[in-house]
Each structure stands twice: as structure tokens, then as C-alpha cells.
């Protein structure tokens, strides 16, 4: 790009700096632009989405909870649809929606507590936390978000016989709005939600460090760790482990790693690891299977984790996982909880994200390879059977527990968002 243009080139940093000065709609448009052009990708999307939603809460005009929810939903959907290959965006949108519902019901509960008699508190159901929301303690009618396209989903088995107006059906316009019960103070809610979103942003930024905190337990002395396409999260993990353990890191990559001319891939990481006393071995993609019998465990990061335990990963991690299975080596996946998607992908093949084939065949060689179609898969779907441990910022998890983590972090009312934004 010409130097004079570079100064005007949009980037996430510039966008974040200019948030205060631009109008809200213009900022949203800028972010959509960046997402579509893939100038913001991977883990950065989560942070960017959180920033943008915070702006929506802070700066747009809304008077009650339902308005806010529908604003967030519409902005969130636009962002998610701008980058369908990044499921993290939808996750953050759902987290914010859930946060708003929580804050709104806390306000309502606080007011109810003041005015209702003590006997109503006896109605606290002692059933398992996964069934009840804290809001269910009071006899107030439940909320169903009145957006026509959201799927109101409740988790109780007894919906069939329930005396409450549980409209499970998606497209009903007539449902009880949250704000009907109690006029909530928009101002107080605004500041609480903003605090909550800032907490989410903290969680995102600290996730990698928290995951690295488990490094010394997962890495044993003398281990040979095969790290496939080490992402920043994996790098931090290895470095934290290097501080406490003597091990050997096998750094594997595929041909797509773009490095300075003459330098081996991951040179910076190798230097740091060597400085900490850890031997490193660089594996080219075709060296993977040869070294697999030697490795003790395989580690890589994920872009997203689905409800079924399947993953969206950088391409080549699939090969590593499959090779690991062949040699019975454990596969550990590093992923913050914010990457957990509360839905089951409808198709694996659509997850294959194709990228620039120039890393393999230069456009200059075009005529020579005219008969070939060169596809560069950048991201792929990894089936759940190939993963052993999901190492999250909340600790190591197994596939069976993903359901409870997902239900802890997302509200059932927002699960239907997948249908709205047409996530596969």
C-alpha cells in the first residue's frame, strides 16, 4: 500500500481510539468493514465486539431493558453476520445479553424484596441450579423478550404443565416484556451493564494468562510437548511452563507460517524458550508423524469450541489431532471460556475457511499450474472424539462438562440467537 494511504488504513487500534469522536453508527460501520475485510480476526474479535457493545449501551438512547436488549441484539447480529467465520462474536453478544438480563432482574428483585412480604421468599425452589435462575425466586411473572425473531427457551422439564405463560414458540410477538413488572432506572442499569461489559473484557484479556497458570500441572518434567501452530495463548502457556519445568517443545507448523526471510518459523518463541532452558525442535508439516511417537502430548489453541465438543481450529491442527489419536497421545486444547459456543454446528464442511493460496503457489506461477485448483484451508472443524482435555481459564474440562459451563455462562433465552444470525 502506498505510504500516504497507510496512514488512513483502518485498523482496530485506530477504531478503538476514535470511538469517542465518531458517531456510534459510524463506529459500528467501521468495525463491520474491518470484520468483513478480515483485518480484525481471531481473538481480537471478542475484544472488539465487547468494546462496540459497550458503546451501544453507553451512547444509544434507550429507556427500558427491552429496548436495550433489542438494540444489542440487532447490533450484535450485524457484527456476527459480518464475520460468519468468527463464532466468538456471537458468544460475546450472548454474554452481554445475559448480563443485561441478570442486572435487570437483580434490580427487580431488589425492589420486590422491599415491597413483598417474607412468605414469598419461601417459594425458593431447592432444585438444582441448572434448572432455576436466581430470578425464579420471586413470584413475579417471568420475562420473555418480545423480539419477534428470538426463540424464548426455558430449561425446565415442567414447561408442559407450568402455570406460567411459557411461550416456547419462537415467532410469537405477544410475550410479557421484562420491564412491565417494574420500571427500572435506566441510568443505574446503564452503569451496571457497562461495568459488567468491562468485566467481560477483563476476562477476555486475562484468559490466556489464567490458562497458562495451569501449565506447571499439565507439563511434566522431561515431557516432549508437540505444539501445533502455537498461538499467543499456547506461547504464554509454554513460557509459563518453562519457568518451572525442564521439557522439550516440538514446534510444528504448516507451510503457511509467514516469517522473515531466512528465519525459521516461531523464531521469537524459540529464543525465549531456549533462554528459559527448554530445548526446542522445529517440525515442518511433513515431520509431524515422524515425531509423534516421541511426543507425550499435543497442544494447540482453538478459535471456538462447540456444544458437542467439536472445535473450530486453525488448519493442520486436525492432522495433528488425528496423528495423536493414531499414537494414543493426549490432545489438550487451550481455549478461554468466552470461546465456548452454545450451539451444535449444523455442518462441519461449511466450517472450512479457505484463505490465500499464495502461501503455497505464487500467483506468478499461475500459468504453470493452470490445471490445478489450489485451496488453502485456513480453519477447520475438529470432531469431538479427537480431543481429550479442554484447558480453559476455569481449569481443565472434559467434554461431558461443556454443557454445564455453557449453561453457566449463557442464558437459555439467548440460545435462540443462533437461529437469528443463521450460525451454521
Amino acid at each position: 500500500m502506498a505510504p500516504s494511504q497507510a496512514a488512513y488504513a483502518p485498523s482496530l487500534e485506530k477504531l478503538l481510539k476514535s470511538l469517542k469522536s465518531k458517531s456510534l453508527e459510524a463506529s459500528i460501520e467501521d468495525l463491520i468493514f474491518l470484520l468483513k475485510r478480515r483485518q480484525v480476526s481471531g481473538d481480537e474479535c471478542a475484544n472488539a465486539t465487547a468494546h462496540m457493545l459497550l458503546q451501544v449501551v453507553a451512547r444509544s438512547k434507550w429507556h427500558d431493558v427491552d429496548q436495550l436488549l433489542s438494540r444489542i441484539q440487532s447490533t450484535g447480529s450485524r457484527l456476527a453476520q459480518a464475520a460468519p467465520h468468527e463464532p466468538v462474536i456471537g458468544n460475546i453478544v450472548r454474554r452481554v445479553l445475559g448480563l443485561i438480563r441478570d442486572e435487570a432482574s437483580e434490580d427487580r428483585n431488589a425492589d420486590e424484596f422491599m415491597s413483598e412480604s417474607v412468605s414469598d421468599l419461601q417459594s425458593l425452589p431447592p432444585s438444582a441450579p441448572s434448572h432455576t435462575r436466581p430470578t425464579g425466586a420471586t413470584p413475579v411473572r417471568p420475562a420473555l423478550v418480545p423480539t419477534a425473531t428470538s426463540l424464548a427457551v426455558s430449561k425446565s422439564m415442567f414447561n408442559l404443565l407450568s402455570a406460567a405463560e411459557t411461550a416456547d414458540s419462537p415467532m410469537t410477538g405477544a410475550s410479557t416484556p421484562i420491564s412491565q413488572a417494574q420500571p427500572t432506572s435506566a441510568h443505574a442499569l446503564r452503569s451496571e451493564v457497562i461495568d459488567g461489559i468491562e468485566e467481560i473484557m477483563d476476562e477476555i484479556s486475562q484468559a490466556d494468562d489464567q490458562i497458562a497458570g495451569f501449565a506447571d500441572i499439565q507439563v511434566h518434567p522431561g515431557d516432549f510437548i508437540l505444539a501445533m501452530l502455537p498461538s499467543p495463548a499456547v506461547e504464554r502457556f509454554l513460557l509459563k511452563a518453562a519457568a518451572k519445568r525442564r521439557f522439550t517443545a516440538l514446534l510444528a507448523s504448516n507451510g503457511s507460517y509467514i516469517s522473515a526471510v531466512g528465519e525459521a518459523p516461531y523464531a521469537a518463541l524459540r529464543k525465549k524458550l531456549n533462554a528459559a532452558g527448554v530445548n526446542t525442535v522445529n517440525l515442518a508439516s511433513n515431520g509431524l508423524l515422524a515425531y509423534m511417537p516421541r511426543a507425550n502430548k499435543v497442544i494447540f489453541g482453538a478459535k471456538a469450541v462447540y456444544q458437542s465438543g467439536g472445535l473450530l481450529v486453525d488448519s493442520a491442527c486436525c492432522i495433528a489431532a488425528r496423528a495423536a489419536q493414531e499414537y494414543s497421545k493426549p490432545v489438550i486444547v487451550l481455549s478461554g471460556v468466552y470461546k465456548f459456543c452454545p450451539f451444535d454446528p449444523s455442518e462441519e464442511v461449511s466450517k472450512v475457511d479457505l484463505g490465500n493460496p499464495m502461501t503455497y503457489v505464487s500467483y506468478g506461477d499461475g500459468p504453470a499450474v493452470d490445471a490445478l485448483e489450489v485451496e488453502n484451508a485456513v480453519a477447520e472443524y475438529l470432531p469431538p472424539e479427537l480431543v481429550d482435555v479442554y484447558l480453559t481459564n476455569l481449569g481443565p474440562q472434559t467434554r461431558d462438562h461443556l454443557g454445564s459451563i455453557i449453561s453457566d455462562h449463557y442464558k437459555p433465552e439467548d440460545m435462540g440467537l443462533s437461529l437469528l444470525i443463521n450460525e451454521a
Partner: protein, 324 residues
């Protein structure tokens, strides 16, 4: 009041009803027929009649699913608990009134559940692919009809005619909606699945869902599920469409699983009745041949499509775990 007769009348009169809901409705009618008395007495009557109803059925599991749901709802109101997080707290009398007055509402909700299942399930039906369905399940038919209504999706169906009385009508309904449906017998399933990259989805319904995420359904389902997993070729996923009211609090632990969870079915593995047909008393108690069921392990099931969304088999346990 004969609860067994009421149950069978309900099943016969309404083609859309499921067995658990018919059990619930027959229990509601029992409430109506029982003179109002103390809460404990009512619960005792319900327990007794529930046992009678379950005894009358060679395969009591679907009835157990509905009857347990009903009984738990009553017991919770007795304890002053709410059954669902959203519920207002009703006293026992109010609960009884609520159940008696809203019988139609419950039936409607049960049928609406199939619509929700159709919304969630149709996501898995993809453009340009083939779906394999079996068993005559009404929920599965609804899923396919909903997907057919989406003009951006063009797909075909292979229907396995496994002897269910509803297979014919399901195929007819799908063809009437403009879908290309081929029918095959169960022996042709492996042949059709092998190396077929067009088939991406195998859909079945079920009579009950067990607490561990496995299902007890029409004989042949387990065969279909295992073949889906084992046959080489492209990835195919096996999904079960079931409303949450079909979840029953039982787990199949060891062989013979179907018999251990309470289904009275012939066990030919013992070779005890060679050449002779069981008749008379014994035959009446057993599940007839054409309604035999088998057990499918949760590891063969990729997801259970309920009206509350798609549940993984590991998520079923906690849904019924806090029954009193």
C-alpha cells in the same frame, strides 16, 4: 373410572398425541373423577392408579415418562415448591384446579413442541444433501416438512420402512410436500450408507429418552445408529427428535438393557421357546413382535433435538435428576 381405558381411548381418538401426554391426560381425568379430598389422599390415589396404568402396558416406559412428570408436578406443589422457575406458587387445590382447567392447553403445548423441534432440527438438513429417516416419527416428518418449506434448501429423503405403522403416512406426507423420497428396507441401510457422501444426516424419533441419553425405540434403531457410525465414508450424524416430556428417569445398565428397564419383551437369546409361539396369558403381557423395542447407547447419538434446543446426551441426566 378406568384409567387404562381412558388412556387407550385418548390414544385412539387423537392421532397427534404422544404416549406420555396421553398418560398425563388420563391422570388429569383421574383427578376430575376423584372427589376432592386432602392433598395426601389425592397423591395416594394418583400413585395407585399410576401403578395400575403402568402394569397394563407391556412397554410401560413412555407412560412412566408422562406419569412421573405429572406426579412430580403434584408433589412439588404439595411441598410449596415451584416446578418451573417461572411458576407462581400454587397451593394444592389451586394446582388441581389449574390441571383440570388447562388440559387443552397442555395438549396444545405438547403439539407446539413439535413445531419447535422442527425449527431446531431443520438446521441440520442441508442444501444438496440427502437425509435418511426411519420409524414413522411425527416429529421427524415435521422437521423435514419445515426444511422443505425453506426454498433455499433442496434435499432428498431416503426413508427406511422398518415396519412402523406410520411409515406409509410419513412418506406420503413428505411426497405431498414435493420432496423426492426413496424407500428402502432395513436390510439395505448399510448398502445405502457406505461411501455415500450425499447422506449427511440420519434422523429418528423415539418413544422415550433415558436419563443417560440413550433411547428405547423401535427395534432396528440401534442397528441404524451403529451403521451410521461404523460405515466408512463421509461423516454422517445421527440425531434423535424427542420432546422433553419423553425423558424418563431410568438408566439401562447392562444387557439385556430393554428388559432391565421394565419392558416385557421376548428374550430369544435364551432359546427357551423354540418353535412354539407364546400364547394366552403370557402373550398378552408381552410386547407384540411388531412393536418390539431396542436400546441405543448414547455414544451413537450426536444430539437429541428437543423443543428446548438441541441437547447433548450428557445434558439429559441433570434434567430429571432432581425428581422427588
Amino acid at each position: 373410572y378406568s384409567i387404562v381405558r381412558a388412556y387407550h381411548e385418548l390414544l385412539a381418538s387423537d392421532p397427534e398425541i404422544t404416549m406420555p401426554v396421553a398418560a398425563i391426560e388420563s391422570l388429569i381425568e383421574l383427578l376430575r373423577a376423584t372427589p376432592a379430598s386432602t392433598a395426601m389422599e389425592t397423591v395416594e390415589v394418583v400413585k395407585k392408579e399410576k401403578a395400575r396404568l403402568l402394569d397394563s402396558a407391556p412397554n410401560p416406559l413412555p407412560l412412566l415418562a408422562g406419569a412421573d412428570l405429572f406426579e412430580q408436578y403434584l408433589l412439588r406443589s404439595l411441598r410449596g415448591q415451584t416446578a418451573a422457575a417461572a411458576d407462581p406458587v400454587l397451593g394444592f387445590d389451586e394446582t388441581r384446579q389449574h390441571l383440570l382447567h388447562n388440559k387443552l392447553l397442555f395438549a396444545q403445548r405438547a403439539k407446539a413442541a413439535r413445531d419447535n423441534i422442527a425449527t431446531w432440527g431443520s438446521r441440520y438438513v442441508l442444501d444438496g444433501r440427502v437425509v435418511m429417516a426411519a420409524g414413522g416419527s411425527r416429529a421427524v416428518t415435521k422437521i423435514l416438512l419445515r426444511a422443505a418449506a425453506d426454498t433455499t434448501k433442496h434435499f432428498k429423503v431416503i426413508y427406511v420402512m422398518d415396519g412402523s405403522p406410520r411409515c406409509e403416512s410419513s412418506v406420503a406426507a413428505l411426497r405431498a410436500a414435493g420432496l423426492d423420497v426413496e424407500i428402502v428396507g432395513p436390510h439395505k441401510v448399510a448398502y445405502m450408507l457406505k461411501d455415500n457422501s450425499q447422506i449427511n444426516l440420519v434422523l429418528v424419533g423415539t418413544e422415550v429418552v433415558l436419563q443417560n441419553g440413550g433411547i428405547i425405540s423401535r427395534m432396528g434403531t440401534y442397528q441404524l445408529a451403529s451403521l451410521t457410525k461404523l460405515v466408512k465414508g463421509s461423516l454422517k450424524r445421527f440425531y434423535v427428535a424427542a420432546e422433553t416430556h419423553k425423558i424418563v428417569r431410568k438408566t439401562a445398565l447392562a444387557h439385556p438393557q430393554v428388559l432391565r428397564v421394565g419392558v416385557k419383551q421376548k428374550d430369544i437369546s435364551k432359546f427357551a421357546n423354540l418353535g412354539r409361539d407364546i400364547d394366552g396369558e403370557a402373550a398378552r403381557d408381552m410386547v407384540p413382535d411388531q412393536e418390539e423395542v431396542d436400546y441405543t447407547d448414547p455414544e451413537f447419538i450426536d444430539g437429541i433435538i428437543t423443543e428446548q434446543g438441541v441437547k447433548m446426551t450428557t445434558q439429559i441426566w441433570e434434567m430429571v435428576d432432581d425428581y422427588i
